[in-house]
Symmetry: C2
Subunit: 169 residues, 2 copies
Amino acid sequence: MAAQFPSETPRAASPLFLREPEIRRGIELLYFGYSHLLRGIDEGLASQGLGRAHHRTLYFIARQPGLKVSDLLRLLGITKQSLGRVLGELTTRDLVETRTGEVDRRQRLLFLTPEGKALEAELFESLREKLSAAYAQAGQGSVAGFWQVLEGLIPAEERKRVAALQREG
Amino acid sequence: MAAQFPSETPRAASPLFLREPEIRRGIELLYFGYSHLLRGIDEGLASQGLGRAHHRTLYFIARQPGLKVSDLLRLLGITKQSLGRVLGELTTRDLVETRTGEVDRRQRLLFLTPEGKALEAELFESLREKLSAAYAQAGQGSVAGFWQVLEGLIPAEERKRVAALQREG
DNA sequence: GAAATTGGGCAGCCATGTTGACGTATCTTG
DNA sequence: CAAGATACGTCAACATGGCTGCCCAATTTC
């Protein structure tokens, strides 16, 4: 299951890249990298009076139009009360609309309005610029490694849900 | 500067790995991967009545013992009022202590107490387990790529500060 | 040595998460 | 068809972790 370990350090049980400095480096790069990626969209959000919670919601609805409230709750990992407030604000601003499910009329299916799509696209553009610059600078092979490590951080159960986003995108 | 691009798609200006699905994949893996990495320490923090903001503070003080409040402010990218509250709580709980700077007596130099070091070590252990499992599963080459991409997300100016953490670690 | 700069701190507000309890419409099942 | 389960919404109260505004003390500068 685990990768083969080079054994250049006979006195150590772990290869060099599993030692504390390399772990700390990963933690720090994740923290700073992710922070800077998101920092770019705050301005665009603030201009609409929205926050990051609203962005995450817009993002996933854009990704899976017609998803149910319960699907979104599982993806975001928050309570329905928290999501309810965010969804309410987005609906009031005509960025999100709900339609009653046809097979099960208790369900509310979530969609972006044209305005919502436009805002999501604008915010995505900021993320795209930063991440694609990082991808291009690092090269294709590095991007594959980047994905590999991050996938390993996600529990198997949830990895399915994340992979499902790709298929529908 | 940029890596060589394979040109399997002559009709596209960008290589495949710079297209929207690959960008969205990176965004999603970062979001879910980082979320799960951090989720593991919440329990340990809650048992002490602390939150993630406290952890970040403990982490960086552990990383650079004796750093100034202003150094920490730059690293965290928050306001000194926000940090002040966190530092106050950590000091009250005897996890952090400050010493007056010798060259400039306005400065407060930050250190972890033995209890603070023990807590930071415990929290780090949880992060280490998860990240080293992901590293091992992905392999050394993937880890290098992971670092490469994340570095590209950090503005050059700040990259220096992040790199400095490694030297002192 | 007065003024400006710098390091730090306190008070109070806002965004966004939490729990708990409850209401209502709809679907499912005995 | 009655009973229970499910999907969603909502009210109230509260915690965390950001923020701005204002203030004090120490140092540097002119």
